[in-house]
């Protein structure tokens, strides 16, 4: 409890644009406004086909509601600031970047390779240095999962340099 109060006091002393409540609210509002603008590009249905309301009306109403509620939480946060979150550690950013690498590898090289590489990378970054366990999470387990999904669910995985070898 004391820690939370301490963190809240620390947050109070920051300029407003560095505060989490400002940055989070700003991001939500900016995205909502962008989406709201997009809704104006939706096709308009002629009255004869219109079922109750136009297709854009409902998302518009939702986005306005989200913006209003976000302004409300920001207003409330000026009176009762959020606690300052701890800085994210290096392991978080490494895991996050492994997601990006996964997307790139799965798109350009191979789906299996992407899973395997991410598993080994994450396990290693989180402190696993033993080769057997790295092979277990990065190769043995994904192979079991692949075979299981392929035989039980009859799944066909996307083509790639390793998957093609398996299917051929």
């Amino acid at each position: 409890m004391k820690n939370v109060q301490k963190q809240k006091r620390a947050n109070k002393s920051l300029p407003f644009f560095f505060k989490d409540e400002f940055r989070v609210s700003l991001v939500i509002i900016l995205i909502s406004v962008a989406l709201l603008i997009t809704t104006f590009t939706f096709d308009i249905v002629p009255p004869i086909l219109n079922r109750g309301i136009q297709p854009a009306t409902f998302p518009k109403a939702l986005l306005v509601l989200i913006i209003v509620m976000t302004l409300l939480i920001y207003y409330l946060a000026t009176k009762n600031p959020w606690k300052v979150e701890k800085k994210l550690p290096r392991s978080f950013f490494l895991t996050l970047s492994s997601f990006v690498v996964f997307v790139v590898v799965s798109k350009t090289l191979d789906f299996f390779l992407a899973i395997s590489a991410l598993s080994i990378f994450v396990s290693y970054c989180w402190g696993e240095k033993r080769i057997f366990y790295l092979l277990l999470v990065g190769i043995i387990f994904p192979i079991i999962v692949f075979i299981f999904f392929e035989t039980i669910l009859g799944l066909r995985f996307p083509p790639g340099i390793i998957t093609n070898i398996y299917y051929s």
């Binding site: 989490d20 989070v24 939500i28 989406l35 997009t38 939706f42 096709d43 249905v45 079922r51 109750g52 309301i53 297709p55 854009a56 409902f58 998302p59 939702l62 986005l63 509601l65 989200i66 509620m69 976000t70 409300l72 939480i73 959020w82 979150e85 550690p89 392991s91 978080f92 895991t95 996050l96 997601f99 996964f102 997307v103 799965s106 798109k107 789906f111 899973i115 991410l118 598993s119 080994i120 994450v122 396990s123 970054c125 989180w126 402190g127 696993e128 366990y133 277990l136 999470v137 990065g138 387990f141 994904p142 999962v145 999904f149 039980i152 669910l153 799944l155 066909r156 995985f157 996307p158």
Partner: protein
């Protein structure tokens, strides 16, 4: 009633579902919602009854499994077990881990069985009432379900509502189901079918948890050794039987309310146990009543949450949202017609939940020591494996790589939502209710010829709107009361 269950295949499904549910419940960060979402693609190989039996047994056992971790390492295996930590861990520190787990097992079983009885009697009545519902009533009911999001958990009600509205917004992506006009597709063909439920659930729960775990890799848990689980003594039964019954009632009632699940039930069950206790000063220091109150309530919420799910198609909790998706994927439309047309199917589910509650008692009693060891699997091994299953499971439903990327996107989003105090559960509920809300609103407006005020001329709809206002006001009244008590 349980005739459909007397097949070796279904009993096997039930057995493995309970076992798997317990393992999921024990592992912090997983739990029945994530586990249910991960297992959903596998259910495609099963018939509808086996699939739902598998999901419901995971739900019942997973909710109980969270107590093992709560007592032994002071970390709730599932959010519903958070209140169990308050007294379970202090009691375990006193060398009475076996007694604490014994009480958790018994009260969970009683709560679970009590709620199945409620489900058997109450769901058909609710389904009967639902025959009176037209589109406006369903719209008002869905709004009531969404406003209930304001009071889930301990987080900010407005943040919960924002998350719920965001969930509904996700449901609008793709071709408009009434006019076939593209919305938020940004020219991406794969988005015209909309955003699937599984990528969102797996992303928000499993992947965001993986990112959370990446911030905690240096965290060390103090594990308390478990010698053997002990059944409660006569004295313990005398002390707690009223609490168990009261919490079972509270849990079942909270479960029936749309969107509210085991987490809210256990918090209320715990605080009511404290309020009625002769020894409230013992709470937080290892009170056996505290464990009984929390555990009976969270397991009682399982049967309760199935009531609106089966009778109305409105999820009673995040996990029942997954079960609801399972029903829809298997071509079973929940609602009043289900009760008239497929009673065998329903009674199969009821019977399965009853047996699952007995099975997890047996597994818990004889195997808690083994399940406790599962928590020793290091995260650096466990989470990469979960990642592989998540990716393949998400891909398998539509064989779409875009679904996998969507899952990763929601994983990152879910991490930041949780970091800044936005619960991810409302997003799931919003997503599942989104189509119902918009569809019934538009159809109602067609019926009313565009006159919004006509909603208030329908007594059932008006009742739900009034209940929605109460649901919105409740967190405000609660926070004022807490503030007043603190002053």
């Amino acid at each position: 009633m349980m005739a459909p269950l007397f097949s070796s295949k279904l009993l096997l499904v039930l057995f493995f579902g309970t076992l798997f549910g317990l393992i999921l419940g024990v592992l912090p960060g997983l739990g029945p919602t994530t586990g249910g979402a991960l297992i959903l693609p596998f259910t495609m190989t099963l018939d509808p009854l086996s699939a739902i039996v598998l999901l419901t047994s995971i739900y019942c056992a997973g909710t109980y499994g969270g107590a093992i971790t709560a007592v032994l390492i002071n970390t709730p295996g599932t959010p519903a077990a958070a209140a169990t930590c308050l007294d379970g861990y202090p009691l375990a520190q006193k060398g009475e881990a076996g007694r604490a787990l014994g009480m958790a097992t018994v009260s969970s079983t009683v709560g679970g069985i009590f709620s199945v009885v409620i489900l058997v009697f109450f769901a058909p009545i609710l389904a009967q009432l639902a025959y009176e519902f037209g589109q406006p009533e369903y719209f008002a009911l869905a709004i009531f379900g969404l406003t209930m999001l304001a009071s889930i958990g301990e987080g900010s009600p407005i943040k919960n509502l924002i998350a719920g509205a965001f969930g509904i917004l996700i449901s609008t992506v793709g071709k408009d189901f009434m006019t076939s006009i593209d919305r938020f597709t940004f020219g991406i063909n794969e988005l015209t079918e909309g955003i699937g439920f599984i990528p969102v659930v797996v992303g928000l729960f499993a992947m965001s948890e993986m990112l959370t775990q990446s911030t905690l890799i240096n965290q060390v848990f103090n594990r308390i050794a478990l010698k053997a689980i002990k059944l409660p003594s006569k004295d313990d039964y005398k002390k707690t039987w009223k609490t168990i019954l009261r919490s079972s009632g509270i849990g079942s009632f909270i479960g029936v309310l749309p969107a509210e699940g085991g987490t809210v039930a256990s918090l209320i069950g715990y605080s009511e146990a404290k309020r009625f206790s002769k020894n409230p000063e013992e709470f937080g220091k290892g009170s056996i009543e505290g464990i009984a109150g929390a555990e009976a309530a969270n397991n009682a919420a399982t049967g309760g949450a199935m009531v609106p799910t089966l009778a109305l198609g409105i999820p009673g909790s995040a996990t029942t949202a997954v079960i609801l998706t399972g029903l829809i994927i298997h071509g079973v439309r929940p609602g009043p017609d289900l009760f008239r047309e497929q009673p065998d199917f329903l009674y199969g589910i009821f019977g399965a939940m009853l047996i699952a509650n007995i099975l997890f008692f047996i597994f818990g009693f004889f195997g808690a020591k083994i399940f406790a060891r599962i928590t020793l699997v290091p995260n650096k091994i466990l989470w990469p494996m979960i990642f592989a299953v998540s990716v393949c499971g998400t891909y398998s439903l539509n064989q779409s790589i875009i679904d996998v990327w969507i899952m990763l996107f929601f994983g990152v989003l879910g991490f930041f939502m949780r970091r800044y105090g936005f619960s991810v559960v409302p997003v799931i509920i919003g997503l599942i209710l989104g189509e119902l809300v918009e569809g019934t609103l538009r159809q109602s407006l067609v019926i009313f010829d565009g006159n919004w005020l006509m909603f208030f001329t329908r007594p059932i709809a008006l009742t739900f709107f009034i209940l929605s206002l109460i649901a919105l006001a409740f967190p405000l009244i609660r926070s004022r009361k807490i503030k007043k008590n603190n002053d």
